[in-house]
Symmetry: none
Subunit: 403 residues, 2 copies
């Protein structure tokens, strides 16, 4: 559904919607057991909840499309991920809790190793440790460029974020091509404008790159750098206004807080575990109509290709289900931003198990929370961006359409 339509239909109510995102939720069969992670995990509370809920499978972005974290979450926040996107540089900034301003341009950076001819011999400089990256970033931050303030922020290992912030009336553009050639044996590319208005930004980046090369010259193993994903903060329509909801976000990981903030949600300070998130949610429960809670461990285990570990994260989540239910949401959704099958050790395109609990749910035959049960659920297979509109309906927060 279009956001304009949602805005027209959204009406106030005193009901509460809770969206819990299990990152990387869906999986694939373990070839030994013939069962997925969710089918393997012992999750009595989730199974009980699924039995009392309507189930289904969400398509995060489109058929066959494997989403990054950005589009996977934007869809669950009600946005069409084809229409609204978050650039790599912006996402990386969100991931380190960097307070990106509307006029900033951000890029993801890699320290790399160059050979005697200036060609990349290691794209990740031997994955140097964060401890080595931190002082390098500090040095690069001393580079002076006209009309902009410069940030070089370490991320992890060989990764950093470059942010250019205009100090005066200068206007920067994110339309700059990557300098990362994505392969070894060639030199980093010169930063070129991708649009006419990006010339001066590209020139600034070129100045930064050449100054950085001088600073790094002779260092080992990081004597060079590459940049990619230049982007400015996207102007997303405000989610709380569109849906007429006081919307809050509780996430232990910065990137997900950042995505919620881009959507216009109020980000609540919390701790480092999902247990902390639940404490935070309980504390602020009365002040919000909608809360988003993020559970990261399932995705991390899936990306590691660790089937058993992913099963364990689901079992750990299950133990939190009574506390989640105790919050007393009128509409509770358990969803995923994308599948991360352990056998693929990566995000995937497979539809993601979904459940919604509310008193207006249409009952189905799902007797547990897994891919197979959800496939036969009453919501069928549907686009993830329709989950929030469906929740609005179940929460009595959508007016009738048409006379």
């Amino acid at each position: 559904m279009k956001l304009e339509m949602i805005k027209q239909l959204a009406i106030p109510n005193d009901t509460k919607i809770l969206l819990v995102v299990i990152d990387g939720l869906g999986g694939l069969l373990n070839p030994d057991s013939g069962r997925t992670e969710m089918e393997t995990a012992d999750t009595p509370h989730l199974d009980r909840l699924a039995e009392e809920s309507g189930c289904g499978l969400t398509i995060p972005v489109g058929y066959g499309i494997t989403p990054g974290s950005g589009p996977g979450h934007l869809a669950l926040f009600g946005y069409d991920p084809f229409e609204y996107s978050v650039g790599r540089g912006v996402l990386e900034s969100l991931g380190i809790d960097f307070d990106l301003k509307p006029k900033d341009v951000a890029a993801r950076g890699n320290f790399c190793t160059l050979d005697a001819d200036g060609l990349i011999s290691d794209r990740r400089a031997g994955r140097i440790s964060t401890e080595l990256t931190v002082p390098l970033c500090k040095e690069l931050r001393e580079i002076v460029l006209p009309g902009v303030e410069l940030f070089v922020e370490p991320v992890r290992d060989h990764r950093f974020v470059l942010v250019l912030r205009p100090t005066g009336r200068k206007k920067l553009s994110g339309e700059v091509f990557d300098t990362d050639p994505q392969k070894e044996g060639v030199a980093p590319l010169p930063p070129k404008p991708r649009a006419p208005g990006a010339k001066s930004t590209a020139a600034l980046v070129a100045d930064f790159a050449s100054a950085a090369m001088k600073t790094l010259a002779g260092r080992k193993p990081a004597n060079g750098l590459t940049l990619r994903g230049f982007a400015t903060r996207p102007e997303l329509p405000n989610m709380p206004e569109t849906f007429n909801l006081r919307a809050g976000a509780v996430a232990a990981y910065p990137m997900y807080r950042g995505l919620a903030k881009l959507a216009g949600m109020t980000v609540l300070p919390t701790g480092e575990t999902f247990g902390d998130e639940l404490v935070t949610a309980r504390k602020h429960w009365d002040k919000f109509d909608f809360l988003f809670l993020h559970y990261k461990p399932a995705d991390a285990a899936g990306e590691d290709g660790d089937f058993k570990a992913k099963v364990a994260t689901l079992e750990a989540f299950d133990k939190a289900v009574p506390a989640i239910r105790a919050l007393g949401a009128d509409v509770l959704m358990i969803a995923g931003d994308h599948s991360t099958p352990a056998v693929q050790a990566a995000h995937s395109w497979h539809p993601v198990p979904f459940l919604m609990h509310s008193k207006w749910i249409r009952q189905d035959d799902a007797r547990g929370f897994d891919e197979r049960q959800c496939q036969g659920g009453s919501f069928g297979i549907f686009p993830a961006k329709e989950a929030l509109p469906l929740a609005m309906a179940h929460a009595g927060r959508f007016a009738k359409f048409g006379a």
Copy 2:
């Protein structure tokens, strides 16, 4: 998914995708047995394959839409059939292996019988035999029109194809109204332009029609003709480029070779049976990333309204399944361009059984290959144009979308 998006996501890999289209695959219940053609057919190899695959149902074009061969196949080649279409005249030319050039205008022709007042008394001239149509076409080919070369090619029975080919700089248009009034008791219509740029083409067609009337005058039963479906070759985006695949087509019937050629695939010469197609596929296997194989008999039996014969064509296909699997595709799809229920003796709008075999498939409970089993499959009911994008994902040929 939009083709532009597909083009952005498509990445190379050394995997192979095989699309086998069973023309007119889906059916309806036989009122006597309460089982469809697929449920009736004894197809152990297909059933086994379905058990090891992900199943679903494709909607060829849209809800309630009965597709012709053109849109049914274009969708499976990844095109939105609403956006890209193949005119009737072009399709008929493809069906007789006529080498249509980009500037040609083609139309489907019928010989008909006119009464003393010039009104159509038989739209098909008593379905005269091909043997009678061939010499008539030869005579009409002698008609001379200024600035164009003329082709009048027999199809079958009373049907022929008219092609106008500009010899110099003349530009022809396919925007000419049918002269076929689609009913008897009225005269053939004068060819009128449907767009301003089509005036001179309409005039040429009028000249052809009046010259043809003179040639045919007094003949029995074919003393007149009608023309419909004027069209030029559509400019389809190149499928192999869009999907970044070396794509080949193997089809015993000319129309399907023609459709594949319009999509930009390499058409491989083959024999007249599906067995010949398999030999051809095996021979050229290494040279392609994607192969399309076409199996015609199911549709023909369905159109004849012969339930038993359609069952037999499915059983015959089943015997070829081991050879299909032996090709060793990483992603194997068995699909249909549309349903052709024998009880309707015609193409229909019903969703079409679909299966995909690959190591990344999400297992489902389908234990056979038929309409009912596919309905509960892990792909659900989905647009046929998404089948190829899904295959691309399973083949590891799509990059991640978004950061």
